[in-house]
């Protein structure tokens, strides 16, 4: 059993993102012509990927269509395969909590990231646990839950492309961004 104590102080974990997180994703549906072929082989009758929303509301989640500005605060880090917030990162979290409380009309996103070891979907879950741990820590410090959203990028967005412990340590991180 992983000793993830639920005492608020140990609770936490990571987040964040820097790179592509800053941009607002722009849906570019494939045109009515169907597939864009990349191989020289073309097949017709391929989805035009329009999104009707499926009638499913975006409940309870921050609107980030305007983008998220990461980099305003420090990044927190995690041990391998862990979502536990380290003591050395509490100062960063306290600073962010203070900003949240002083700016109740602003919203914060927490993004969780992993190193390249591990598999994609496992790491996506681990990155979510890191983001959620950091959010829980902020809530413990008195921040309104409605003010903070989370996203996991798993291992999709490394800040260091190296294949060694130094790079991995940098990539296991939580990042904080102001919703624009």
């Amino acid at each position: 059993m992983k000793t993830l104590s639920w005492s608020p102080l140990l609770l936490i974990a990571g987040l964040a993102f820097l790179l592509a997180g800053c941009e607002s994703p722009t849906p570019r549906p494939v045109g009515p012509g169907g597939a864009i072929d990349d191989s020289g082989d073309v097949i017709g009758n391929v989805p035009e990927t329009t999104d009707d929303g499926g009638g499913i509301p975006e409940r309870d989640r921050l609107d980030i269509k305007g983008g998220v500005s990461y980099g305003k605060w420090g990044v927190i880090h995690f041990a391998f395969d862990s979502a536990v917030i380290g003591e050395e990162d509490r100062g960063t979290l306290e600073e962010i909590a203070k900003w949240c409380k002083e700016n109740p009309d602003k919203k914060l996103m927490v993004a969780g990231h992993c190193d390249e070891r591990g598999t994609l979907e496992y790491n996506r879950a681990l990155g979510q646990r890191r983001a959620s741990a950091a959010r829980d820590y902020l809530v413990h410090l008195g921040v309104s839950p409605k003010q903070v959203g989370t996203v996991s990028y798993g291992e999709e967005q490394p800040v260091d492309l190296g294949h060694n412990e130094e790079a991995w340590a940098k990539n296991r991180r939580g990042e904080f961004g102001e919703v624009q």
Partner: protein, 396 residues
Amino acid sequence: MTLPSRSIVRLLAFAALALLPHVDSLFAAHDVEVVKPGDVIAIRVAAFGGPSGAEAAKILAADLDRSGWFKVVGNGGEYVVEGSASASSVQGKVFKAAGAPVISPSASGNLRRAVHEVADAIVEKITGNKGIARARIAFISDKSGRKELYVTDYDFHNVARLTSDASIVTAPAFNRAGTKIAFTSYRSGYPDVYVADLASGARRVVARYPGLNSGAAFSPDGARLALTLSKDGNPELYVMSAAGGNLQRLTRTRGGESSPSWSPDGKQIAYSSDDGGRPQIYVIPAAGGGGVRRVSSGGYCTEPSWSPDGKQIAYSTMSGGHFAVASVAASGGEARTLASEGSCEDPDWAPNSRHLVFARTVGGRTDLYILDTVRKDAVQLTKNFGNCTQPSWSGR
């Protein structure tokens, strides 16, 4: 593993599946011989007539070889295939010795796909096992600079890109009928689960709850999805309607659950969880109610794929900083390593429960390979197509 007399029952089921739209053949259960995995049947593909005969014969020979059941020979052969082809149709006749034709399959449409139908009809007729030449594979490639969703035939022809989200698209899963693909896209800024319908081109978001929505897998009947959601705080396993909604939560742990894969009867789901420390493969009743059992035995094990015959669960296991593909009996037991050269991840069983597709990384590049688990040889599927990952077979 042997093919017992119940192969006749299976054959009848296959007959119903196999001859879908255009294949016209003569099926009679009593004609089927008992063919065991490991058997290799010599077959000769004679020169085909017609304007596209040469191309069709070449495609057919490659299909029969890839099936694993046949060795294609230039002379002699226990079976001989004759035939002819135009640009849009193919007719074949398979003879054994000097007798009457064993099967006379024909198909029309795109020549390659028509020949694949004929190849599958031959495999199914002679061996009683499902063919895979018509199956397609969904996968992710970063060829465009971003991770997008693609589909390909099992021989890397008819490749098409299905998304242009320009964010991150990941975790595709075909339904068994091969008509829909569930996948995750970050195009909203969050990881959300979508279902694309290949015929209509419609794409719908089916899960966009707060936090993580990913790793969706269709139930065998296509009506439900198993997936990971963190809407209630921690990443947990859920089952929902494939049209969205009707959520049922299956797990309640402090770890993370990911990569669900259904048993072929739809009653159980294999998945990965690190609730007990390093991630392991577990099986849980799809209807909920507990009764979780672990089927892997230590190490770091993720990405299970339950074979369509129900017998095995393949998965990725980490050893020495790399991944290998291993498989264990669905009832548990000792695992066997199936692929370990380079780093091998994310296996998915083919509809015949004999072949596996997986992603292999060598020298910093990742491509898809198809492994024949009986012959124990792996054929590279994707080439010069960026990094290709997360393959999922249709037709299961």
